[in-house]
Amino acid sequence: MSAETAQNARRSGGASLFTDQRFRSLFYQALVVGLLGAFIVFIVFNTAHNIEKRGIKTGFDFLSAPAGYDIAISPFLEYTSQHSHGRVFLVGLFNTLLVSVLGVIAATTLGVFLGVLRLSPNWLISRIVYCYVEMTRNVPLLLQILLWYAIFLGLPSVKQSMSFFDDTFILNKRGLILPEPIPGDGFMLVPIVFVVVLIASFIFARWARKTQETTGKTYPVFLINTAMIIGLPLLAFAATGFPLSFAYAELKGFNYQGGMSIKPEFTALWFALSLYTAAFIAETVRAGIQSVSHGQTEAAEALGLRPGRTMSLVILPQALRVIIPPMTSQYLNLTKNSSLAVAIGYPDIVQSFGGVTLNQTGQAIEVIFITMLVYLTISLVISTVMNWYNNRVRLVER
């Protein structure tokens, strides 16, 4: 009865409208939308006014205009200063992807290795890794990039280059120069064979697993696959008569000509990113392995599994579930941190497109919008892929 009266009172009285939760929520949301709309109108109005006053061009026409500046590192695309800003964007994007992908690979390898070493029963090893992790994690990445860059620039000058294996590898302050591989006729067979073998080994692994599940018979899958993946392409390489030659660098005038050169900007950025992220990954891996209850290890040992099998069959599959989500964010961090390239002049997307192009065209809004969109897309792709993988290894519950 009393509840009914209360409800009636709520319906009838205009003053008590505000005590109705639904109305209140609508009111607040309308307020938020209104304020936000007013804010946006305010900004758009100001921006339009400022752009007009400063004579800044708008629109995306600048993408096809010639850039007019050089980019030192463009391993995938041909680039000269005559190319457009759109081309700059592509070069920058590829450079970002290059250092990110190589960084992820190096950081994962080193990080997992360090994470396992951190759990080593050997006190000394575990302490050394601990010191490394703490020293790397507690120093800003930008500082580490600058430090590595300073170290690489401190290498001998071109005249006093360090040379290894009779001028095969040359190291000086302008970078590391390697012999450039030149594929001959029939070399394409090797990568084709490699891909075919890779697919075959995958199928074989699935078949072996099915067979084991149905009949219990096991095969040395890892051994056979490794032998196949390494051996068959080598065989193809030998069968076609080793169609690969190398172009060596030679000192001409003030610099080396020919060969492949890896610039110190790239190396410094790659080193710093990989070493920094590896420290975080090591901690993630350690935490993941430690999160698996000790009872699991004891149970596996009680079942008579050897330490290696305990690790690969019992501990790791469970640890992976804990490791993957933070690992995803480490990969994302590495990709985003690669934008620090701007500090040492490695032409990634932020340095070339978001930096030089922005300054030349003055079209801050368009340039920053495109740059941010690129990172958002990369983030989205990485998290989608890792979520898919995470779903695969997730604990399947009923």
Binding site: S25, Y28, Q29, V32, V33, L36, I43, N46, T47, H49, N50, I51, K53, S120, P121, N122, W123, L124, I125, I128, E134, M135, R137, N138, V139, P140, L141, L142, L143, Q144, L146, L147, A150, I151, L153, G154, H294, K336, N337, S339, L340, V342, A343, V350, G354, L358, A364, I365, I368, T371, M372, Y375, L376, S379, L380
Partner: protein, 369 residues
């Protein structure tokens, strides 16, 4: 039965120490360093590695280093040349802050420590009064540093070095915490529009690198403002840093909110508390308590990230370091400069992470192995 063996009545046998090989230093060495052949080899390799690294490091930083001298030519020992640090020490600490006013940053620094202690440790006498001071501290600090009311005004473009790094770090922390709470609450709000807006903001900021946000703050913010209104460089950088870290803070706090059992929310509702009352009195005190270690970690990240402002032309520690490196007098001393700055950062970040660990242990009530 041998004659040497002593006889004890039942229950009278004294507790003997463990055999020498089972406890104490020798056992520890045996177990942790030389338990097997492989382990012994590892230990020897590690010792060699340590010797190699430590001897190089100690030679470079101490034995072969030069501490006294005037110019780079005095550094002849082959190790580090620390003269550059001594020569520019004031810049590393204060940037271009006028020399006669150095007492102001110094006083601010002391006050900062007084303001931080009651926030960090909860067993301080009169904590409430101290906390009141902590809330007032940002305003006092701003007044002391920038001047006014009879004190010489110091333009924020003259702030630099460690001073600027601390200003950025502390302001970022102070600003991002409340914004983070609001965003986290908004993300869990029942109002769809508020929720969507918060999710969009958080995910957008977390998806892009800080440097693009700083570029945005330094290049686009002036376009957004009406004519005549101009934020100085420091304020623009501060807005960028604060917005960036508030998104990360929001995610940490959301983790804490999700860990609160539903009964707490329902209980607060049953008590007739309003939304804000229940958040302030029931939910947030518990949620924040759980995620303090995560918050401290976010602060460490924020503190390290403040170095990025050197890219948009502010003279924080790294900015000052780059100026020092570019000086003809000290050309080629980049490693010394950066190692010095790294040491400063390491000290503060490492102590913060130790604090977070200490808290985690204090709050940890689960079972440990």
């Amino acid at each position: 039965m041998s004659l040497t063996e002593q006889q004890y009545a039942p229950g009278e046998h004294p507790d003997l120490p463990a055999p020498l090989g089972e406890a104490g230093l020798i056992a520890w060495f045996k177990k942790r360093l030389f338990s097997s052949v492989g382990n012994t080899i590892l230990t020897i390799l590690a010792l060699y590695f340590l010797y190699d690294v430590l001897s190089t490091v100690i030679f470079w930083t101490l034995i072969g280093a030069t501490f006294v001298g005037e110019t780079k030519a005095d550094c002849t020992l082959g190790g580090a040349c620390w003269l550059v640090i001594g020569d520019r020490f004031h810049q590393f600490m204060y940037g271009l802050y006028p020399k006669s006013e150095y007492w102001r940053p110094n006083v601010t620094f002391v006050l900062m420590i007084v303001a931080i202690i009651p926030v960090l440790f909860d067993k301080i006498p009169h904590r409430g009064k101290f906390l009141l001071f902590s809330t007032l501290f940002p305003f006092i600090a701003f007044f002391l540093l920038s001047g006014g009311l009879g004190m010489e005004t110091v333009d924020s473009s003259d702030w630099g070095g460690l001073l600027l790094t601390l200003v950025l770090g502390v302001t970022g922390i102070v600003a991002s915490f409340p914004i983070g709470i609001v965003l986290a609450l908004g993300r869990r709000s029942k109002m769809p529009i508020v929720r969507v807006l918060c999710v969009c903001f958080i995910e957008f900021v977390r998806g892009v690198p800080l440097i693009t946000i700083l570029f945005m703050a330094s290049n686009m913010l002036p376009l957004f403002l009406p004519e005549g209104v101009n934020f100085d460089k420091l304020l623009r950088a501060l807005i960028g840093v604060a917005l960036f870290s508030s998104a990360y803070m929001a995610e940490v706090i959301r983790g804490g909110l999700q860990a609160i059992p539903k009964g707490q929310f329902e209980g607060a509702d049953a008590m007739g508390l309003s939304y804000w009352q229940s958040m302030r009195l029931i939910i947030l005190p518990q949620a924040l308590r759980i995620v303090i270690p995560g918050i401290v970690n976010t602060f460490i990240g924020l503190y390290k990230d403040t170095t990025l402002v050197s890219i948009i032309g502010l003279f924080d520690l790294i900015g000052i370091g780059q100026v020092a490196v570019a000086d003809v007098k000290w050309r080629g001393l980049a490693p010394e400069t950066y190692v010095f700055i790294a040491l400063l950062f390491f000290i503060s970040c490492f102590s913060m992470s130790r604090y977070s660990l200490w808290l985690e242990n204090k709050l940890h009530t689960g079972h440990k192995r």
